[in-house]
């Protein structure tokens, strides 16, 4: 069985020097879903890179929440389209000469 690691939001905030309210706002915008474990809000380790990316977009590039929401949506679309292109390319190989 696969186990999932969680990191408390407090630890994350201290590590990255961000306010807890920022994480709350992300949750309100639906950009994150944070489970509560032992009355502590946590982030699954698999989502850590996603959250760190959001932190960079906001603090380093000055992008507001609405902008981040749009970017995350578009990046997901790019990722899906890239996966689709790869699948189509692989299918096309069937018709290449062997």
């Amino acid at each position: 069985m696969q186990t999932e690691e969680f990191i408390s939001i407090e630890t994350f905030c201290a590590h990255h020097g961000v306010e807890f309210s920022f994480i709350n706002t992300l949750e309100e915008f639906g950009l994150l879903e944070l489970p509560t474990i032992n009355q502590t809000k946590c982030i699954p380790s698999v989502q850590l890179a996603h959250l760190e990316k959001i932190v960079r977009l906001h603090f380093d590039l000055d992008i507001n929440m609405e902008g981040i929401e749009a970017i995350v949506h578009l990046l997901n679309r790019i990722e899906n389209l890239q996966a689709e292109i790869t699948a189509l390319k692989n299918q096309l190989r069937l018709y290449e000469d062997i």
Partner: protein, 297 residues
């Protein structure tokens, strides 16, 4: 060593003020930031240049050194010696990004002038993940038919990884923590490996299914019989129906490719029969075919 015109990189003139530098940097960073341009190496390179230009021009001390010695950087050391006697504190607002801030990411020009260090205060500079590394691994179709281990050398380090059976061409897997070292004690970046799987001379793969074409002589196609078919898992014996048509297909269930990370599950193998019409007939063969032709008309 290439001399970099940092003003040109940011699209500024030499008299640009602090606000203009900041504005130009932000505008370009939003365009080329690695987070916004995943897997785009050209954008990442451009971003490194922008970051480097900002690192220099937003710091009055570095900017002065660059303005004075930029095109004659060999004399920068002499400048440094003079500067040490009247050291002043300084530093503009610096921006640090997890992807692109190790000294390795700065140009030789930057490192020779500023020693690869990049100081400057920041409102939010604590710990950052190291840079993500991207590598491509070329394998054959038979390589990924079975799970196997392989040692890769990435940035001088040997990494032993297990390559699961069923990996697809173009698929990317992440090896956590094997990217660049973290900055200021931050965690290491990740290593992303893109698999490039070469076409097999006899088998085509679509998803988990394999496709192959097998030549069949006319007599066997007409009369039927046993045919030995090669699969990636060895040979199988097939009983061919009499009257098998050219281009017809047969499905060998479970003889395709292993399903990624689902042990024991396999796709199917589709065999297309290619009936070979005999050429250069002997007189006797020709006569027999003519007789057959008369019989069937």
């Amino acid at each position: 060593m290439e001399i970099i015109d940092y003003y040109k990189v940011l699209g500024l003139d030499k008299n640009a003020g602090e606000k203009e530098i900041k504005k130009a940097f932000r505008k370009l960073a939003r365009k080329y930031h690695p987070d916004l341009n995943p897997s785009d190496k050209a954008a990442q390179k451009k971003f490194q240049q922008i970051n480097e230009a900002n690192e220099v021009l937003s710091d009055p001390e570095k900017r002065a050194k660059y303005d004075k010695y930029g095109k004659d950087w060999e004399h920068a050391e002499a400048f440094e010696k003079a500067r040490q006697t009247q050291r002043q504190s300084g530093g503009g607002e610096g921006y640090r990004f997890s992807e692109g801030t190790s000294s390795e990411d700065f140009s030789d020009f930057f490192n020779s002038m500023f020693g690869g260090t990049h100081t400057g205060g920041s409102a939010r500079t604590v710990k950052f993940r190291g840079q993500d590394y991207h590598a491509e691994l070329s394998l054959s179709l038979t390589d990924v038919y079975k799970t196997h281990k392989r040692t890769l050398t990435v940035n001088g380090k040997n990494i032993r990884i297990a390559i699961p059976a069923g990996v697809e061409n173009g698929q990317v897997i992440k090896i956590k923590g094997h990217g660049g070292p973290g900055i200021n004690g931050g965690p290491n970046g990740d290593l992303y490996i893109t698999f490039s799987i070469a076409n097999h001379p006899r088998f085509k793969r679509v998803g988990n299914d394999l496709f192959t074409t097998i030549g069949l002589d006319l007599y066997k196609a007409v009369l039927g019989g046993e045919v030995i078919v090669d699969t990636l898992d060895g040979q199988v014996k097939l009983l061919l129906k009499p009257g098998t048509q050219n281009g017809s297909k047969v499905k060998l269930k479970g003889k395709g490719f292993p399903v990624y990370k689902k042990e024991g599950e396999f796709g199917d193998l589709f065999v297309t029969w290619s009936v070979k019409v005999p050429g250069n007939l002997s007189e006797k063969q020709k006569a027999l075919f003519e007789e057959l032709s008369k019989l069937s008309s």
